[in-house]
């Protein structure tokens, strides 16, 4: 499935411009082209006071810079298509019209398709009108695209293949974080609502090492995982261990973790800002075909890194002394302590391992997508869903549950879940599974009390 951005993007502005995504602003204000006077109309200044401003840009299918479309006639009508005409103008060299309006109310912007230059067509449904609600009292930036996206009809089979591919990738990323969550939950019983912020920590640390220090992404990623492990160790030492020693209840600790999550998220936003940023390398890559599945190089790397990490971790937990100690503490901390184990040391090790895994998920997520201060928070519920689905506190369960959640999210749209809310399918499944098998797929029944 390849998306082709075609033809036109139109932007309607009211009087005030507030909170808009950075990209939208970037599209709305094209760099003025001081081209040789081939353009017929003079510039249309933005009308003082109440106005509706439209900028027409040719997105050219997403290739190259968007170009303004001059010479298109636009009409603003009051209330409805058949209402009184408020004003009419032809787009200038910047592709802009600006028409003054009297005040609040409903306005319809109509585009005359006959005046479009040859070769430029409205895409999507090809609507030539757009309704704008103008409310003077509130922020009033309305952006709309006269259908800028044309989807090449993809066959059902290729949709399933594509959904499976992205489902497995996001499932593996969720699994890394879920493994961390499950380890920490298993040994300490803490339902950590701050886990999402540990993912973000990995991503932001990568960004800082990459863009701030100037290291290559791979080195930055390795350092970020180390930083996450140190962060986990310190977090346990400074915050959670004293709480355990004071005998703070688990639900109280859960609420502490909510407060901690809020604190961390706000600190990230304070330092990093609200925008979404990219790393310096591997941002956009073409896809090669591997056995009929299209994968980009970074996707191959992400799959390999996460599969290897998860396998090594799980086997280590089953085979090594430390793994055995972890499982013993998770089964019964008091008994482990009385048989001579250093329970606090084991828990420290779990925090280090858990946050390192979670940080790695953040690093890979930053490479796969972009970096944002709430990327981990947005993933948190899916991580919880994965862990609960597989069985709280089990190791392989977290992996299986996360893969199922990842596939549910990405394959949902193929089977009729609205694409804009594809997470809903996975969350509904979570609730249904709890109805039938509350301990999760691999959980043991007595764990849920």
């Amino acid at each position: 499935m390849r998306l082709r951005l075609a033809a036109l993007l139109a932007v309607v502005m009211g009087m005030l411009i507030l909170l808009t995504p950075g990209t939208a602003i970037a599209q709305a204000t094209p760099t003025p082209t001081p081209s040789a006077g081939a353009v017929p109309t003079a510039d249309n200044p933005i009308v003082e006071g109440a106005n509706i401003t439209v900028t027409l840009l040719d997105l050219k299918g997403g290739e190259g810079k968007p170009e303004p479309v001059p010479g298109v006639s636009l009409t603003v009508l009051k209330d409805s298509k058949t209402g009184a005409e408020v004003g009419s103008q032809t787009t200038d060299s910047k592709g802009r019209v600006s028409i003054g309006i009297e005040g609040n109310g409903t306005y319809v912007v109509e585009l005359d398709p006959d005046t479009l230059p040859s070769g430029v067509k409205l895409s999507g449904g090809g609507e030539t009108t757009k309704t704008v609600e103008v409310k003077l009292a509130s922020s009033n930036f309305v952006q709309f695209q006269i259908g800028a996206v044309v989807v090449e009809k993809a066959s059902f089979g290729s949709k399933v293949v594509d959904g499976t591919r992205s489902g497995i990738i996001s499932g593996l990323l969720i699994a890394l974080a879920a493994l961390g969550l499950s380890l920490i939950f298993g040994t300490t019983g803490l339902t950590n609502f701050g886990h999402g912020e540990l993912i973000t920590f990995g991503a932001i640390a990568t960004y800082i090492f990459n863009r701030g220090v100037g290291l290559p992404v791979i080195v930055a990623g390795i350092l970020a995982v180390v930083a996450a492990a140190v962060f986990g160790f310190l977090q346990d030492r400074i915050l959670w261990r004293p709480l355990r020693n004071r005998g703070t209840g688990l639900i109280a600790m859960m609420i502490v973790s909510i407060g901690f999550a809020l604190l961390l998220r706000s600190v990230y936003q304070y330092g990093f800002g609200g925008s979404t940023r990219t790393l310096s390398e591997y941002v956009v890559q073409g896809r090669d075909s591997y056995l009929g599945v299209d994968l980009s190089h970074k996707e191959v790397a992400i799959v390999l890194v996460s599969v290897i990490t998860i396998t090594v971790t799980c086997i280590a937990l089953m085979r090594t002394r430390l793994g055995k100690a972890m499982r013993a503490v998770s089964d019964n901390p008091a008994l482990s302590a009385s048989s001579g184990m250093r329970v606090d040391g084991v828990i420290s090790a779990v925090w280090i391992l858990g946050t390192a895994l979670t940080g790695l998920a953040g690093v890979l997520l930053a490479v796969q997508q972009q970096v944002n201060f709430q990327m981990g928070f947005n993933l948190l519920l899916l991580v919880f869903a994965g862990v609960t689905l597989g069985g709280l506190g089990t190791i392989w369960g977290a992996l299986i549950g996360s893969l199922i959640i990842g596939l549910m999210v990405e394959l949902g749209p193929v089977f009729g879940v609205p694409a804009s809310i594809k997470e809903v399918g996975a969350l509904v499944v979570l609730i249904l599974i709890l109805l039938v098998r509350p301990q999760g797929i691999l959980g043991k029944a007595q764990r849920i009390g």
Partner: protein
């Protein structure tokens, strides 16, 4: 720096509609968490289903306002039943995860482009508030100030919302007070303390928990309806999980398992949030800000209160989990 502006902002939201919404939501959480020990992290879901029940009935289906209120409340009750059946038999953190997931599902569905015709997409719904505002007896706003030193100010619509809202809060508190001193309330409290002991006395714990979940959900629904009435629009993003967490913060400040805990808690919560927000906004604004630009910009200043809120919630839970009024022995915050 103008301390009048800061005090005005702090007091106006501590006594205004915003605090009332949180007080109502926190009263519901108090029934869930404080009295019964249920960890409902999806109070925003109860609010959104009631709010959109009203908005959809009036705007999309064009039915009378009172029918809308009824639909909203029925929605909240149904949601409680649906959530309760799978989770109330399980450990506390399962209810937490399921309720938080459900409130997110509802928020996403209400905001989805695909259902724009019914729920209005991400802009939400407007135009249901007329019957409510028509009842407004006030013709003017209200503001109290000494010279140019502002103390508190409300618009005409706010004044009406405050009247209705505090009345609702008072009624809700009365209901909670009466119920919790009844035998029914004592059973709830003992479920919180020791579920197995109550079961061995022959009480149907599941039924009691379910009734508590429904009751708290109804308070959440009232909060949701009041929220959209006071601002005149139902916007899905208002009902995110942070909303629930703030309501918890308000409850814990005041003290769980106390009738007036959530009310005092939300007043203090909003006094601090607005006061601190306004303080840092004043401190970084103007041509010669008190805090220089390289430490904190105007955008960053709005985050300080969230950082402090997170820190405050942690410290509160660690050092004084019973809040201002609560009793440490009574607040059973240990599951598993």
């Amino acid at each position: 720096m103008d301390f009048g502006t800061i005090l005005d902002a702090a007091l106006s939201s501590a006594l205004g509609p915003q605090a009332i919404v949180f007080a109502l939501a926190a009263i519901g959480l108090n029934v869930h968490f404080g009295y019964t020990g249920l960890l409902n992290f999806g109070q925003a879901g109860f609010m959104s289903i009631a709010a959109f029940g009203l908005a959809v009935t009036v705007v999309t289906w064009d039915l009378p306002f009172l029918v809308g209120i009824l639909v909203g409340m029925v929605g909240a009750v149904l949601l409680a039943l649906v959530l309760g059946v799978p989770t109330l038999r399980l450990r506390a953190d399962y209810l937490a995860i399921v309720t938080i997931a459900t409130s997110e599902i509802l928020r996403l569905v209400f905001g989805a482009v695909e259902f724009k015709d019914t729920f209005g997409g991400s802009n939400g719904l407007t135009g249901f508030v007329r019957p409510y505002q028509n009842l407004n007896p006030y013709s003017d706003g209200f503001s109290l100030h000494i010279g140019s030193f502002g103390i508190v100010s409300f618009s005409k619509n706010d004044l009406w919302s405050i009247t209705v809202g505090w009345l609702l809060v008072a009624l809700s508190c009365l209901v909670v007070w009466a119920l919790m001193r009844s035998p029914w309330g004592r059973v709830l409290k003992s479920i919180r303390e020791d579920e197995d002991a109550v079961r061995s006395l022959g009480k149907n714990v599941f039924a009691y928990k379910m009734q508590a979940l429904v009751l708290g959900g109804v308070f959440g629904g009232i909060a949701g309806i009041f929220h959209i009435l006071k601002q005149g629009s139902a916007v899905p993003t208002d009902f995110n999980t942070t909303f629930t967490f703030y309501a918890y913060a308000a409850l814990l400040i005041g003290g769980a398992a106390r009738v007036l805990g959530p009310v005092v808690g939300s007043i203090i919560f909003w006094f601090l949030i607005s006061g601190i927000g306004s303080f840092f906004s004043e401190a970084t604004g103007g041509s010669d800000p008190v805090i220089p630009d390289w430490i904190m910009t105007q955008t960053q200043s709005s985050l300080v209160r969230l950082i402090l809120l997170g820190l405050g919630l942690m410290l509160l839970m660690i050092f004084r989990p019973q809040g201002i009024f609560g009793d440490r022995r009574e607040i059973a915050i240990d599951g598993r």
